[in-house]
Subunit: 378 residues, 4 copies
């Protein structure tokens, strides 16, 4: 695995915990953790349970005991690592957004396909049992024709103007701000649950134009400054209107300036026969309204998706015992392992999903710049 910060921890834990909950033909072995800072990666490897560490990801490619490369680095380096890994015959799991732009994303997808390796993008929120259950209900027609999809992804961690210019706010490293970091997740949920988007109108906003740079703003590249400020060149907030291919209307909003919302990832879907609501803050619950309920007892019901019948839920605890954030990764890794074991084809979301997601993100950005709607072409 390349990268050992927040996502490094989440992925490491998932690999470790996976065999306890799921029976799989393929079990992950935490071989080697990669990071540029030797001391830091050494400590991280020890803490996160990796057998060894490296400071250059290229070393992984030569090794026969490495079957999988997991990329948890800032977005700017995804393409290079993923393409090289695929070419070396390694299965690849990559954090989102897949790339810095659609061109890169397509290259990654094609490289993985040509190499015949298993490839996934880490849209973990799909793997909440309640979201998987929503997918099943929609597929079975329980909601009827879909008219509306709305999503908000609200955070508040950079609202202090003195919060430094960390890598997630530097365009050259990350590509975009909330767009690729947060709205990418919402778009993945939209595509997963409703289908492809054919047109968008976008709006991007940067509320705090400059921020201090310094120690804290590190990441792959350390900023070499003290007391200085630099321009924020990515969005603090993003919003978009969309039309789906099936005629549904989408409204998307992502921001890091919604005080009180630490990780407020919410979706709602309205169809001709019913509606659903889900939010990460109550991740085990799916709110469902059914038109066909008898008159007088219609209402949104709150389904606690911890029953054996709910996707993945049976692997954990008896009904009514909640799971948490980390289990979305365990479920995702389980699909990745199933893919590697040759079961069920290449799992979703694949690099193709990552590419299509990137196309939507890029169209939103173009629309925001042009002040006009943009048609999506894949």
């Amino acid at each position: 695995m390349v990268g050992y910060k927040f996502m490094g921890k989440a992925h490491s834990h998932a690999y470790r915990d996976l065999p306890f909950f799921f029976d799989t033909d393929v079990e992950p072995v935490l071989q080697t953790l990669v990071g540029r800072n030797q001391n830091a990666v050494r400590l991280a490897a020890e803490k996160l349970g990796w057998l060894s560490y490296e400071t250059d990801w290229r070393r992984l490619l030569e090794r026969d005991d490495i079957d999988v490369v997991d990329i948890g680095t800032p977005n700017g380096s995804h393409a290079e690592i993923a393409i090289a890994a695929a070419k070396a015959g390694k299965h690849v799991l990559c954090e989102k957004p897949l790339a810095m732009n659609t061109l890169q994303a397509k290259e990654m997808w094609k490289a993985a396909e040509q190499a015949g390796v298993v490839h996934m993008i880490c849209h973990n929120y799909r793997f909440a049992p309640a979201v998987q259950w929503a997918k099943k209900l929609i597929q079975e027609g329980v909601l009827g024709d879909i008219y509306h999809f709305r999503a908000q992804y609200l955070q508040d961690w950079i609202m202090d103007p003195q919060f430094p210019l960390v890598w997630r706010m530097r365009k050259e490293v990350t590509g975009s701000g909330t767009l690729g970091d947060l709205m990418a997740h919402s778009i993945d949920l939209a595509r997963f649950l409703v289908g492809e988007i054919r047109e968008v109108s976008g709006l991007l906003e940067t509320f705090i134009k400059t921020r201090p740079v310094g120690e804290m703003s590190g990441g792959l590249e350390a900023a070499a400054s003290g007391g200085a400020v630099a321009e924020v060149d990515v969005d603090d907030a993003a919003a978009a209107l969309a039309r789906f291919e099936n005629g549904a209307v989408g409204v998307f909003e992502a921001t890091r300036f919604a005080k009180g919302n630490r990780n407020g990832n919410r979706i709602e879907i309205n169809g001709s026969k019913g509606s659903i609501r889900w939010e990460m803050d109550r991740m085990n619950n799916l709110e469902l309204y059914l038109e066909n309920d008898p008159l007088g007892i219609q209402g949104f019901r709150s389904i606690t998706c911890t029953e054996g019948v709910h996707p993945y839920a049976g692997a954990y605890w008896p009904a009514g015992h909640p799971i948490g954030y980390e289990h979305t990764f365990i479920n995702l890794m389980h699909e990745f392992m199933r893919g590697i074991s040759g079961k069920g084809g290449n799992p979703s979301p694949s690099f193709e999903d990552g590419y299509r997601n990137q196309v939507v993100l890029e169209a939103i950005e173009q629309s925001a710049t042009a002040g006009a709607k943009v048609a999506i072409t894949y």
Copy 2:
């Protein structure tokens, strides 16, 4: 009062109930109810408690015992009645949206101003105590600088394709669909709580393109048909992105196709120091997050706005005893009566508010047609 359907009932009740709860210098007397169908208006006058009835609203203008004209008719007739009433020296209360277009709306506003009569537009949701309290908190800077306003107004009453083409879906009578009926309320809340809007991108959608016409589709004009269908020429759903003059970003959505949402009118505001959430379904509650709460006990608090300190609440019941939909009208009428009694100037929302609201609605419509953002000029 002109009109005796849903709004006729709501207004009549508010006038009747007002003196019980509020001490006012001016007390409403329910003189004359106006409607075109003589039999129906006679029955309605009796039921709603009016002393007499008329079939032509012009009669009201001549009478000395009529001080106020309240317009609860479909939108197409607002301007004519309001302008005539103002010229006749009657105070005017008008349902929303104010008019069919901005030109009409401006004429109405100017006519009322020149006549020196008290004028209000009936945006009743402003008058939920929780919304008024939100206004006070924002004015006092409790939320800091406002970054985000988001509103959804979700209904589901016309989702059945067999639901007939009632007047609220006929452009010549109503001007627009959800835009003027629902989003007008959200825009009023936005302007009231956050300020003026300077730019919008809009999207309008009609999911069900044709509907049956017939008996049920009546209104001011009866549709003369049987078994036939006609084109729906207004929007079933509307969405808009906006920028406010103060830099805040707005996201608006209104629809009559959100199954399970009978009258789901919700808003959220995020500021640099706090956030609020409110929805009509829990109209007595205001959710408030405050940055300055001590570390570890930060969280959205649910304020039940039924205390003596909350606007209008003291007039009703002891703390903790909820009020309902009708009380938003009583509170609004109370301000209208105060205006008529000469206290506090012309109350808000005035015809000017109605006009400015209309400008935003029209810009959203233009943007939706053009596929590009539109700047607001008043």
Copy 3:
């Protein structure tokens, strides 16, 4: 009507507003308001809309233009007034608890029965549409056999030890504290929804043993003191375990010491086929769980009881538009008027219900004193 404080206001409003919403053969006329303080009752009569006032309730009995006596005085005077009114052939509505003890309560019931007048006790919470709907669902067997009833009635208005000894805390005037004021409502809901109680274990507690007396502690009798304190001889909190005749287990709790709960009146019922939850803070909503929902989509659904199909709801506003506290009284008065008009027999809850409620309250008090369970005999 005798009494003009909180309940006087609630009842007056309900009588006034009733004809607007309901068609009834009998329409209330607000003839005479009675209170001991001439000046206060005069002002109240004017404010609340009564045609005249009196300072002695006995005067009502002689008058032919008085058909109904409504008793909203402190509990100590209920019996005398009600019995005299019944004997004088007046229909009687009485606030809860019916009396100071079961003996008085039985006399009241028998007097009303013998006089052949219509008699009701004002347990208004029964008349929330959601509670009536719950009753219907239970009657139809939707919940199956009932296993559990639990109720909490939580308030917090006397938690300040400096809050004076008002009449609601004086045993000679009120009989009991939270027991008769709050738990009486819960017991009424229990009897209405589940059935008769056959055995109780009770606990009563007075947290603040003495309180200041003075101006504010008035009521029917003014306390003649300054700066002095007096003993609180009623309960600040009450709790009870119960067995119902049908085998269900009941758990009741009432308190005025639950900080943050202004009027937290909540119930839950669990049956073999489903469960319900209701609380006054969300009075329009009924939470319903149904065993027979398909596997995987079971969950508590939140029914907004504002549809035409829900009891009383059709009289008010379109679906999704909430009603409030005052409407529980309007609905109750509607039943009272129906009873007077000769439709449907004597309405529930009757004085017999008041008597049976009192028997349970008294048993709880006896149990609390004795430290042992007490069997209920009517």
Copy 4:
């Protein structure tokens, strides 16, 4: 570890996952799993990650490489194993309830004390960060004097009369039904958060008197029958009123007959300065009401206890990323390991807590039988 069913899985996982999240001087090694059925325990050991297995727990006592005995068996065998383990110098963690009666429980506690081993009882719900945070707030006086504690522990898994007589319903194996299984947790929370209980009145009920026995009713002892039914000799539901030593009033209810509540473990505490509410279904959230909030903005706030400042939360994920049921065990095991490493003395809840809990349970049972309140003496 002895036992490998539900609790065996929960404990095994916690030991495995603990070192990933917490730095501890002592790290658990999963040496040996014990169960009576050789084949089953072999498979379980493999699945749960134990290095070896045994069929007789006595073997553990002789081994030098065993430092800890974790008892996850049905309640009837707790005492024998725990006392033997303590005498053999092993640290002991035991599932709740500690024993079959207070005498056993006291022996276990004394044995562990005399042996000088670390001893804990597995009341895991204490270890939800939100509950720990509640404890801190109460200790610091944020809630003031405590007036009320109320707890419900609602489940619904045995409501079907055809559900077989599993070991949790057999008195000889388990001691009691909901009392020891569910209410024991509520009493632990009460003692942890409010203090010792001095008096109780109890009620026990068995709704379904007989149940089928057979294969599924196994456990440590297999039932030797086919098609037959047997008497249920433990409680399906339990309720209790209590007085705490500090004057607070407690109301407890536990049941397995509350349809729709899979694992509804809820508590509320009301104090002179504030209140809290917590329920396992939203385990990361603590509802807090503070008297000292400014007038007009008082209300229950929902604190998501996932911030670095909240107990244990910093070990997991960034703020706003929920944890689940299993983390309560990880946190508990973390304290157990700290105790073993010699830090902070014997951790809570200890065997003494288990004993005191048992005393309360036994008093409730006695009270239920006698129909009178029972004083608690330790």
